[in-house]
Amino acid sequence: MHRISFNLNGETTETEVEDYSTLMEMLREKFSLLSLKEGCGIGECGACTVLLNEKPVYACLTLAVKADGCDIKTAEYLSKGSEIHPLQKSFIKAGAVQCGYCTPGMLMSAYALLKNEEKPTDEMIREGISGNLCRCTGYIQIVEAVRDAAKI
């Protein structure tokens, strides 16, 4: 067991984790942050994407102890109460959500991209979300949503 402390969605927090626990297990089971999903468990699908120090990582491949002293953001961070982030708004508007299973991970990759690039080209957006699989949308409306959000 390790005692770790970190910043989670804007608040300082502490917990104990096993050395073999993944960041995904910790966030889902200990903090009930259910936005991150498991689609493969081996770093291939991106459904578990969260931000570690503002960089997207696969929570299924990241050990929980790595969070120690870091800043972690999940899709829950994007909305405050019923107030949602412009990126979430544009996802809804563009029809970027079908089954929605990939959506939280996709949002986090897009959020990280927009942090670094104010006006990304479509090519940059596609690259930015290329680690996130979506089987429903064909990505086109997702790219549109990110492009629209970048305009705001």
């Binding site: 942050l33 259910l34 936005s35 991150l36 999903k37 498991e38 689609g39 493969c40 468990g41 081996i42 291939e44 699908c45 459904a47 999940t74 899709a75 829950e76 994007l78 909305s79 949602i84 979430q88 996802f91 809804i92 508007k93 563009a94 029809g95 959500v97 079908q98 089954c99 929605g100 299973y101 990939c102 959506t103 939280p104 949002l107 957006i125 596609r126 690259e127 979300i129 290329s130 680690g131 996130n132 699989l133 979506c134 089987r135 429903c136 949308t137 064909g138 990505y139 086109i140 409306q141 997702i142 790219v143």
Partner: protein, 714 residues
């Protein structure tokens, strides 16, 4: 007011907030976890099972096998031939043998790894041609699942009249659904002693029947609720985890969660049928088709699932969307020891489209004709007769879809490694030649709202939203005056499965019917004279519950078993895709650059959603054409089975043709499967244009493209 508008998805807000509750997200007091132990053999007898170590693992609650099944150890949409747990034999790698139930998932998996099964291997049958001649019989009745035939006119006469005849054989691969959310469900006993299952599913009422047979309990003792479902594409039509979760709850009297990892999902879920299609197609000098003769052989894997439907659909659609005077199609489906193939987006038609669209191009080449022109000449139109003898009297917008892509086709600029290809399709909406009704009902609640009871499963395609739009349009009320109750077998009528692109059309019409009844009631009660809805609802609910029912069963007939003649579908969707590719001749890779996709959808209830279906279909078509191939025991994860990423997507131009279907709600038909069907075909034709080589096998991945190029050099 609502129909034809880009209304935002009803479930999008909760999903962007990460609050969509999928089955695997559920937790319940005292919840246990079930993990299945599966065969890793293609074909074997079970000699012995040693579960002593597993059972003595601390935290293990119970182990279940076929002996623990109180009712029928068999499920399947048509034949109930697939066991929940193998009895003496296993017939494919991935077949479940037993289940460990434990306090945590980790313990259950650890215990599962300790189970030792001793096998006596039997020679497996691995392809349908072998199955046809093998002495090894996979099932008692032999290896043939079914044989379907479609006959029209006289193909010999057709041959005599032909100026050109093209004869080729095509084959397609086994493919995995890769819905992003793997199968998951939780079963629990409710206080009244019933068994409830909440799961990721495409059809709640069918699963209620299956679970009732499994547990030997009456149907009203079983309740199935749909959780948010992360894609289905046909793979969540068959019983997946529901039986196991229910059985676990039945024996432990506690909630039991069963959720598959991706590896388990790939072992367990049904696949797209590999088809082998030998075609002979003829045409006259002027391009008119004279005959189509096709022999289709399919591999349905170890159990029947939807194999019969795929064989029949492939036969009925074998000509493609063209008028063909003489047709002879033989379509057979064989059992093998491969993974079970079932329903997957398109039900065999993406496969036949690859064949008939390649044939069209080959004919045009033989006649020195334009590739679009030959399709225009032969296009099904109003008044045409299909291969099954059905006269198409309405909503036949195929020609218009060809016209939509015509400007792009005429101005295409073929150079160097670039190439352009066409792919066309028609697709019968709903089940094939069998009744397939949908029901729904509306009530008025005391808070002054209309309650919409909907049994159709939204699996991401957006049916909740589209059906709500249909209802609001019919009622002429505002969105806030409606409350949607859905996906629960207790409170909804059977709306059939979310498959065969049928929900918008069939359930949509049922919703329209219910809406019309309620509307005339509201008018009778003075809504038009300004009496508020709230008041009418209040009054109605005080006087007892009034139910407004809607029901629709599309007008079809059964097909003659010898000739396939009849009216299998009440309506058809049509589409044309034009695809531009670039083939890199040094790396043998193909990149899809641009797709023009024209679809006759009857009426786009929600155009943004309709486009979303088309984009998603194109992505899946790219996977089918260029990369996806499921190889049993090798394709074990997303590391060994690739699906398209954002980098594989072309830019897409969509064209919506709205040739309204008179029996559909506001003219709507369906688009879910049509979106995918012509895509692989158009890519294959484009590769021919770009690289001068024609592929006859899917997927046309790097290895196959390389081989084609080498052969071409020789």
């Amino acid at each position: 007011m609502f129909v034809g508008k880009d209304i935002e998805r009803l479930d999008a807000l909760e999903k962007v907030m990460g609050r969509g509750v999928f089955a695997g997200d559920l937790t319940m007091e005292g919840m246990l976890f079930g993990v299945l132990i599966r065969s890793d053999k293609f074909h074997a007898k079970i000699r012995s099972i040693d579960a002593v170590d597993a059972l003595s693992t601390p935290g293990v609650v119970r182990i279940l096998t076929h002996r623990d099944i109180p009712g029928r150890n068999g499920f399947g949409i048509i034949k109930k031939d697939q066991p929940y747990f193998a009895e003496e034999h296993v017939r494919f790698p991935g077949e479940p043998v037993l289940m460990v139930i434990a306090l945590s998932e980790r313990i259950a998996r650890e215990a599962a790894s300790k189970v030792r099964i001793e096998w006596e291997e039997i020679a497996p049958v691995l392809d349908p041609f072998e199955a046809a001649n093998s002495k090894v019989s996979i099932h008692k009745g032999g290896n043939l699942l079914c044989h379907k035939r479609v006959l029209k006119g006289d193909v010999n006469r057709g041959k005599e009249e032909s100026d050109v005849i093209v004869e080729r054989t095509y084959s397609t691969q086994r493919a995995d659904h890769v819905f992003l959310e793997c199968e998951a469900g939780i079963g629990y006993p409710d206080p009244s002693g019933r068994i409830v299952v909440i799961s990721s599913t495409q059809n709640i009422h069918y699963k209620q029947k299956e679970v009732s047979q499994l547990l030997a309990l009456p149907e009203d003792k079983i309740r199935i609720i749909q959780a948010a479902t992360g894609g289905g594409f046909g793979g969540k039509l068959d019983v997946t985890v529901e039986g196991y979760a229910a059985l676990g709850a039945f024996y432990t009297n506690r909630p039991v969660m069963v959720r598959y990892t991706r590896e388990e999902s790939m072992l367990a879920n049904t696949k797209r049928h590999p088809l082998y299609m030998s075609y002979r197609t003829g045409a006259k000098k002027d391009g008119m088709l004279t005959f189509v003769e096709a022999k289709i052989v399919g591999d349905t894997g170890a159990y029947a699932s939807y194999g019969e439907v795929v064989a029949l659909r492939a036969a009925v659609h074998a000509t493609g969307p063209y008028q063909v005077p003489n047709v002879h199609v033989e379509s057979s489906m064989y059992f093998t020891n491969n993974p079970v193939c079932g329903a997957m987006r398109g039900f065999g038609i993406p496969q036949t489209a690859f064949a008939h669209e390649s044939q069209m191009d080959l004919l045009a080449e033989g006649l020195n004709m334009d590739l679009l022109e030959i399709r225009k000449i032969n296009a099904l139109r109003k008044g045409s007769t299909t291969a099954t003898g059905q006269v198409l009297s309405h909503s036949v917008g195929f020609y218009d879809t060809l016209k939509c892509v015509e400007p792009a086709w005429k101005s295409r600029n073929k150079k160097d490694n670039k190439g352009f290809g066409l792919g066309c399709m028609f697709y019968g909406i709903g089940n094939t030649g069998v009744p397939n009704p949908s029901g729904c009902h509306l009530t008025l609640n005391p808070e002054g709202k209309v309650t919409f009871h909907l049994g159709a499963c939204d699996i991401g395609q957006g049916s909740d939203t589209a059906l709500t739009q249909i209802l609001l349009e019919t009622l002429g009320i505002e969105k806030d005056s409606l409350e949607l109750l859905k996906g629960d077998s207790d409170i909804t009528r059977d709306a059939g499965s979310s498959s065969a692109s049928r929900q918008t059309y069939i359930t949509g019409r049922a919703v329209y019917e219910a809406g019309k009844k309620l509307r005339s009631y509201l008018e009778e009660k003075g809504i038009k004279k300004g009496r508020p809805l709230r008041e009418i609802c209040g009054e109605a609910s005080r006087g007892g519950r009034i139910v407004f029912e809607g029901y629709f069963d599309p007008p079809t007939t059964s097909l003659d078993p010898d000739t396939g003649r009849g009216v299998p579908y009440a309506t058809y969707a049509f589409a044309t895709h034009m695809t531009e590719v670039e083939v890199d001749r040094s790396t043998h890779t193909c990149k899809v650059k641009k797709v023009h996709a024209a679809h006759d959808v009857g009426k786009a209830i929600n155009p943004s959603s309709t486009r979303g279906q088309i984009y998603g279909g194109i992505a899946m078509g790219i996977g089918l054409a260029l990369m996806e191939e499921f190889i049993p025991l090798k394709s074990r994860s997303l590391y060994t089975y690739y699906i398209p990423t954002s980098m594989d997507m072309p830019s897409v131009e969509t064209y919506l043709v709205e040739d309204e279907e008179p029996t559909g709600p506001y003219g709507a038909k369906g688009v879910g499967e049509p979106a995918l069907i012509p895509q692989a075909a158009s890519i294959m034709n484009a590769i021919k244009d770009a690289a001068g080589v024609r592929g006859y096998e899917l997927p046309c991945n790097f290895e196959r493209l390389c081989l084609l190029a080498q052969r071409d050099k020789k």
